[in-house]
Structures are given as C-alpha cells and as structure tokens.
Symmetry: C2
Subunit: 379 residues, 2 copies
C-alpha cells in the first residue's frame, strides 16, 4: 500500500484513525472542504488551515477545463499552484461531467462532452482521468466511475455499477503508484444491497488504498442513505479508510461516523457561507433574516472563529443584506470551523470511548436545527 492508514481505536462502529500521505498526516474521521477550481471559495489557504482542515478536495472536471491539467503540471502541480502544501484529494470528473457538461455521450470507452465554459469537445476515460489527476499531483486520486442516477431500476443500477467496476480496473491499471500517494475505488450499486456487495467485492479484488461509497445523497433521502451505508460498510476492509462522497449535513456526518465512515466532503459549509446560512450549536441561521438586524451578540458564543470572536450578528446581517464579499468570507470561515470542530469533537469522543454520549447530546441539539433554513431560498 502506498498510503499508510493506522486504525487507532474504535468505539462501537465509529473509527479513529490517521492517514499518512506524501503531503502530511490526516486525523480521521476528517472533513475535506471543497476547493473546486483550485480555491476554497472566499478563503485563503491560511484561512482554511486555521479552521482545522487537513485535506482539501478539488474537482478534476473544473480543473481540466480551466486552467488545464497540463498547465497546472508545468506550474509545479496543484499544491504549489494554489499554495496548499497539505494533502489534496481529487475526484475523477465522473460525477460532474454528467451533471455539468453539455451534449455528453457515455459508452464503454468513457464520456465525450462539451465544456460548459466554452463548448470545446472533450473525452474523459478512466485512463485520461487518472492522467489528469497525476498531472494535478493529487495526493489521493479517485477511480473514474459513473455516479448512478437516482431513481434507477435495479437493472439500470446493475449495468451502471458493472461499467464502473470495469472502469475501476482500467483506473487501477493506469495509476502509477508512488509512496505517499493513493488511489481509491468507489462502491456503486444504488440503494440495492446485493449490488453494493457485488461492487465492494469487485473493488477489493482489484485492490485500492481506500474505498469510497458513491451514489448516495443524490435524492434517496436520509433513511435509504443510512440503510445503504449500513449494508455497505461491513463489506469494506477494516484496515483501509472509507470515504462517503458528497456528504453532507452535520447530522449526516455524525450518523455516518457512527457507521464507520472516515472521510467526507461537501460543498454545504462553503456554499452556505455565500448564501447567508450559518451552522451554529443552537441551530442553523439565515443571517438575512431581519431579526438579526439589531442583535449585538455573536453568531455562536461557543465558536472560536473570527466571525464569532470579532463581529455581531447585526454586522453579519448588514454584510449579507449589502451583498458584501466580507459576509461570504466570514460566514465561510465560520461554517468550515463549525464542521472541523464537529469532526474534532467526534475524534475526541471516539478516542475516549464516549461516542454514544456524544451522539445522544448531538441528536438533542440537532432537533433545533433548520429553524431558518426554509427561508434561505426566498431571500
């Protein structure tokens, strides 16, 4: 194995580990902020690091189109390009090519599509995806796969998963192993436990540095997501990290850590920061709400982030109403700090065998969540 993973302790199914890479060690469970176009939006890398983040996710689809993988390679790789010396995981482009690109056509070879930026024509295959991820100098690369749409019949989900498994083998063959770098496989199979089992076995037979669970949080709802996770997680090797892709809300992270997941990524904290949404220990707030206009108190009195230490809710309300960039900067810092502190609390709880107590306390707090979320799309 080219990535070191130490499983330090367990508490129930929750796992506390550390993942050693060429670019540094990551304490797990971990949350990866999303830096789509080689920047975590509205944050400097120093700001991101200060939230507690140890690894970022960047998007192959966006970077292959702009600025281009060959260009990033010539400029010394993604770490140097974006001034983030720590680990970077890149996705394979498979998900976004199907959700963002135009005129896409999928066959056994791969996906042809036109760029959503300039209409230029591209072909993405397992081999090309891995080559791009090498050019970007990704610490952790992902297999090229098809994220099975939801809903899908079992037949559709099976055909899609089996294509992804053939692509997983081609991805592995194209991957050039190096010490401290790794390649993760992605379990597909929709919400069908039998297909998930077939997929997990196929990936394990190929052999990967870590195993991701894909195709969830795509509309199936929390209950089906968690039951699919319950069915999938026991199939994965205990000595390798597990990564639940694109998840999620704070309550999803907690529920998935409780089910043995080690790694997460999601745009929710950063995107919410740019739309005036703030995650706090006493609920999720919409800062555009007029009730904050005269509030001299901090966003979250128990938070250590700059937005909470130095500014009032009234000021944050003003910034979001005036569409000031500083509003996005401060709320993104806050949300990522909230996410990182949540992960740190879970790591500490697992280490000390108190995860069940943490879970009970979180669920009690969590009933207060989403108080103002319903207003977010209207303002």
């Amino acid at each position: 194995m080219t990535l070191g993973f130490e499983l330090k302790t367990r508490d129930g199914r929750a796992r506390r580990g550390s993942l050693t890479t060429a670019h540094g060690t990551i304490e797990t469970p971990t949350f990866m902020p999303v830096g789509t176009a080689a920047t975590v939006k509205a944050m400097t890398p120093e700001d991101v690091r200060a939230t507690g983040a140890e690894i970022l996710l960047c998007n192959t689809y966006h970077l292959m189109l702009r600025p281009g993988a060959e260009r990033v390679a010539k400029l010394g790789g993604l770490h140097r390009f974006m001034n983030w010396p720590g680990p970077i995981l890149t996705d394979s482009g498979g998900y976004q090519v199907m959700s963002l690109a135009e005129l896409r056509k999928l066959n056994e070879e791969g996906v042809t599509f036109r760029s959503h930026l300039d209409g230029s024509k591209h072909l993405l295959t397992p081999e090309r995806s891995i080559r791009i991820q090498h050019l970007l100098d990704a610490t952790i690369a992902m297999c090229f796969d098809e994220c099975t749409p939801y809903p899908a019949t079992e037949e559709q989900a099976a055909a899609s998963m089996r294509l992804s498994m053939r692509w997983a083998k081609r991805s592995k063959d194209a991957f050039a192993p190096r010490l401290g770098y790794g390649l993760f496989g992605i379990v597909q199979g929709g919400v069908h436990p039998g297909l998930r089992e077939e997929s997990a076995k196929a990936l394990i037979a190929i052999g990967f540095d870590g195993y991701a669970i894909g195709g969830l949080a795509v509309g199936e709802g929390t209950e089906l997501m968690l039951s699919t996770l319950d069915a999938t997680e026991p199939l994965l090797p205990a000595d390798r990290p597990r990564y639940l892709m694109g998840v999620g809300k704070p309550s999803d992270l907690v529920a998935a850590v409780a089910r043995g997941v080690d790694m997460f990524d999601c745009v929710l904290p950063t995107r919410s920061g740019r739309t005036a949404q703030a995650f706090t220990r006493s609920g999720t707030l919409n800062l555009r709400n007029a009730r904050h206009a005269d509030d001299p108190g901090p966003l979250d009195p128990r938070c250590r982030c700059p937005a909470c230490r130095s500014y009032s809710r009234a000021y944050l309300h003003h910034l979001t109403k005036a569409n000031e960039i500083l509003g996005a900067m401060l709320l993104t810092r806050h949300n990522l700090t909230y996410y990182q502190d949540l992960m740190a609390q879970m790591r500490a709880a697992i280490e000390t065998g108190r995860f069940a107590a943490f879970l009970a306390g979180f669920e009690k707090e969590e009933t207060k969540e989403s108080v103002e979320m319903s207003q977010s799309s209207q303002t």
Copy 2:
C-alpha cells in the same frame, strides 16, 4: 483644536506630519482605503491593517440608508460595528446624494432624495449630516457641501461654492467638539482660482480642524487639477492637515504630495482589485490578459503582500478568469499594499530631504504605467 497635528518637516512643498486622534495617530501623507458600507470590500480589518493603512473612509450616504446611523450608534458606533478600532473619516453624504440618489432636489435647506436601495424618501441637511456622522462616531467628520459639477460656468461654480460655505457654517454650528475628534471644511470653487480663494477664506474664518479640497478629479483632467491645487494649497493654514478628496491614481498622489497635500482617499485600489487590475512597480497589469496564463512569477517581485509572496501570476490569472472571490481578495490586498508602500516611501523621502529624487525616480517608472489598463473595460 480638538485634533492634534504636528508638522514634522517639509521638503520643498511636500509635508511630513502626524495627526493625533481619539482612535490613534496617523502618519502623513496618508492614504485612506474606502470602506463604503462599513467594510473595505473583500478585506477583513486585519487584512487592511496589514497593508499599512492607519485610517479608513466610510460613506455617510450608504450607511444612513443601510444599516442606518441610529442602528450603528445603538450597536456601539462604527469602530465596534466593523471591528476597526483605528480612526475613521466619514464623508458628508453630499457627493453621493448627488451621484447615486434618485429624484434629488436641492435648495437652501439641503437635499431631499429617494434612496437608490428602496425608494424611501430622505432629507439631508448640514445639521442632519453632522448628526449622522456623530451617530456613526466618525473620528473626522466632513462639512456637508455640494460638489460642484464639472463643467460649470464661473457663475454656477460661484453660486454652488457660496451655498457650500453657508452649509459649512451650519455644519460647524451643528458639530459637537470632543477631544480627539475633528471637523474638516471643504474648499470648493471649481477650477477658478478666485473662487477657490474666496472659499478658503470663508472656511478659515469659520475655523476647522483640517481643510479638504473638493470638486477635483471630476473630469477636469490632470493639468487643471494640479493647477487648481497649485492655486489653492497656499491659501490653507500650514498648521492644519490638507485632504484632497477622491484622489486618485498613484501619479496623482505623488503630484499632490509634492504640492503639500497630507491626506487622500480613493476607491481605485479596491475597485481595481475586484476588476483584475493590479498596480505594480513595473506598470499596471490586467490579470485577465492571456499572457499571464503560464507565468510562474509573482505579480511584483518587490512587493511584500501575500498575493506576491505566495502566488504566481498564472494563479491570479486563473482566479480572475474564473471570477473567484479569492482573486478579488488577493488583488485588493496587493493594490492597497502598493498604495500604502507608496505613501511610506514618500514619507521616508520627505523625512530625509530626498523627495525631489523620489519624484524623479517615480516619474521615470511611471511612464511604464497603464500598459494594460485600456483592456480592462473589455474583459
């Protein structure tokens, strides 16, 4: 006088001083970044301070409409609201009410107008402007005046200036003096030396903590601006600070310091930072220009700012092409650092009697300026 001003030394007509206020001391000549809506756009206050800025300008017109002066007062004043403990100068609202507000009507009493934000009706008078500036807790308040439009006939300029002088008296009467706080008068009179003299004499008779030169950089061109400055500056008391409002380009700052001006403000460095323009020691650059796409070098190798220390021109090009907020953040930091370093160089040159040499060196560099500026409006 409620503001302390020490004129430390002169070099030719250039002056080196320090202005002591309730919120800290400002070394002059100084450049004030503009924080229109109680935020210097795309910057935290710590970022602004790190550029070397000692005093900010905020806009009365914007703040009276949103979040409202009474609200800011209840929240502890502008310094606390925006987390900038240093000095703040507020303009009077007179300039912006005429350039931004709708359905404005000017008479002897003041200006009635409708808000450009929500159409609400307002009356701004000298008394109300000063009251608002007190509510904001402005370290330095400005007299309410009419910025004479350009072009204007001598008769129009005279009538406008005389109205501003009557308003200056009403502003002074409405101002409640406090130690470390001050009120500046504003010399008007267009490009007519006789009117400028009449205006300066009227203001000196009333008596102010500092004297601003208004109504310049409104379309008259550099030559007329500098000749009007040449005619106006000798009329002003040597023992009080002089502030050239809304100016300007780096070359304007240098030419005005050479003519005895102590204080400046302008949106140029911050606005340019949001439109991919960068001021450097080797010219003004448009970062969207394709020639930067593969350039691994820094924006300005002689600059100390984070954008120059940690990023390539290629990365800044990428951020600006992708409309990433980090592009605005980094280029604004750079431009404000450039402006502050320029002021620091001028202060050092005056202190050591080398201002003429500085001026000659700057003018030599300056011929390289504006290389890519012409492309800025097209991209």
